[in-house]
Subunit: 136 residues, 6 copies
Amino acid sequence: MYTVTVRDHMMIAHSFKGEVFGPAQRLHGATYVVDAEFKRAALDSDSIVVDIGRATDALKRLLAEINFRNLDDVPAFTGRNTTTEFLAKHLFDGMVTAIQAGELGSGAAGVEALKVTLHESHVASASYEGRLLDAR
Amino acid sequence: MYTVTVRDHMMIAHSFKGEVFGPAQRLHGATYVVDAEFKRAALDSDSIVVDIGRATDALKRLLAEINFRNLDDVPAFTGRNTTTEFLAKHLFDGMVTAIQAGELGSGAAGVEALKVTLHESHVASASYEGRLLDAR
Amino acid sequence: MYTVTVRDHMMIAHSFKGEVFGPAQRLHGATYVVDAEFKRAALDSDSIVVDIGRATDALKRLLAEINFRNLDDVPAFTGRNTTTEFLAKHLFDGMVTAIQAGELGSGAAGVEALKVTLHESHVASASYEGRLLDAR
Amino acid sequence: MYTVTVRDHMMIAHSFKGEVFGPAQRLHGATYVVDAEFKRAALDSDSIVVDIGRATDALKRLLAEINFRNLDDVPAFTGRNTTTEFLAKHLFDGMVTAIQAGELGSGAAGVEALKVTLHESHVASASYEGRLLDAR
Amino acid sequence: MYTVTVRDHMMIAHSFKGEVFGPAQRLHGATYVVDAEFKRAALDSDSIVVDIGRATDALKRLLAEINFRNLDDVPAFTGRNTTTEFLAKHLFDGMVTAIQAGELGSGAAGVEALKVTLHESHVASASYEGRLLDAR
Amino acid sequence: MYTVTVRDHMMIAHSFKGEVFGPAQRLHGATYVVDAEFKRAALDSDSIVVDIGRATDALKRLLAEINFRNLDDVPAFTGRNTTTEFLAKHLFDGMVTAIQAGELGSGAAGVEALKVTLHESHVASASYEGRLLDAR
């Protein structure tokens, strides 16, 4: 299995509901350094998994939708705790949609699986990984 | 599949038996930067894989049992080479026990798999990964 | 010159005033991975720059005062942009006060200079460095 | 599943053919920080996955074959784009051959799978992972 | 003293002349992860060292001039070994020029010193640091 | 000022005397990832600060003297706490001696200052920096 991974980051505010979150129930924030890892069994005719330039651009566009925002005010997240693992799935879904819309080029149609990892500090991270077929 | 990873470290002394270890047969030591990665297919009702605070505390307790020690003198390890990969399995077993004892909260009962990685330097690491059901 | 550096992190929300900040004028947030670097010309009688355990605890206490908060609501910061470099100075001042209050032990009286660095992402950081005598 | 990972690097020049590569069609270069991750279900009698010294030496030898070279002039790569993911597979094949030739010791015969990852910058990487049985 | 640091990277080919360089006399290449660190004694009225967005853009423009190139063919470098430390000085000079041309905004006129660091691998880096007044 | 930095590591056991060390009074150990940073105001005729290959070899030789050892048994350290900062000075002295003995080549005679940093974990490090003239 081949993979290619690209990295970018976003800086957001949010708060959580639930005693389990302790002080994180207060409005606070995070820098998420985000890795998008694309997987496929065989390379395309250019010897690549995905166009790394387009993948980087697609990740930047996805992050721009929520970057520099208070996620408590984003309608799509109403009633949800925007935990690191929840955001990993949100970005996974967005990247799958981008691939299927052709934003990463026709070659990206061969991508079989995707993993999105968010590093929230030097001591904690979360991810979501799924197959693209499962996501359709 | 969702994951959450937490990190801590320990500093131990030990020696190895066997020619394959070369100079590491002498009493020496290591800092192990330890990652515990928890995996599950669906988030719980709080939108989390596991309570990151409790996971961090559980990892710290596990490491405290052998931190700042000469592992050659730890009865549980008698007759064993406490290699990085061996210690990864040791910590895996300890964390599985902690999860099953409820130390990470009732929500952690949904954790399906665990991976423990020990970084012994900037150029070497080792890990053990297993399913929790297999470990029971 | 000897140094010892300890690391911890905090997760805060804030917004900035001024066109120069672009989208960061909106309420957003950041994880700051914080390094406190203590400097002195000679080691004390224990062969240390500072008690690393006490230094770590002092850094954690300093960060706890503003961790998991919206800095726009912290009275001490009213009317100020809590930029990364501003926060570096804020934490520098706090650590100097802690040293002078004896919180890091009597040995820390020999610390001559301090540098506080905040890493806000994998591509940006800021710091403040000063002499302790200057800060008195 | 146990893993052991060792790291080294190489510095090469190359160019790519195909519009998808944009400015990378020009002769340029890269540092690849390379991780070789060895996997097996059970440790050998020394409590190791593989002799870490021999694994490190084998990786260094593999990299030396193409290190400090213009890959456009390497006969084995004629007519191929030596992308990061392509090189990951090239090094995977070389390491499998080394294992099967006994270069990592007889214990390494128990290695079941291998993953080779090339970090090309702080924001991009690629890898190839396969089972050793599949590679025979 | 305050600092702000921004990071980007470039991927180049080159060769060196001189026996001291061993195999690096051959045409090879490197990824340079580049940090530009801006220093000043006092913050400006926005509480910043420099506009981090403009600094990032300026660094990207500087790198673009030589990114994805064979430095042996760049006229400005004729007859010079484009070592990591030499390139650090080259980028230092370019950034000083950009600051003095107002590309980083009028606030950047207060920047007193600059350090440019190039990381060429996980085990080696080089830098050049100087005062801006000295560079005029 | 130009710098070049090279990195290697060592794995040692030791114990400390003094209540300030708490559990580190017990025999334990550490991996030290060691950076040696060479500084000079002007490059030599090859456009380098120091021969990076020779610098790397010299660092490896220095570390080999105490690598895979229990520092409590090393005669040179009798009666001393081999703290991270103490070891930074020890390695600084060794590297200065190596430079002055010509082990890094005649060009290294131009090195003016040296900084040795030991990273003992992902959250702590120590260093010693001095001028070479001062060290003579």
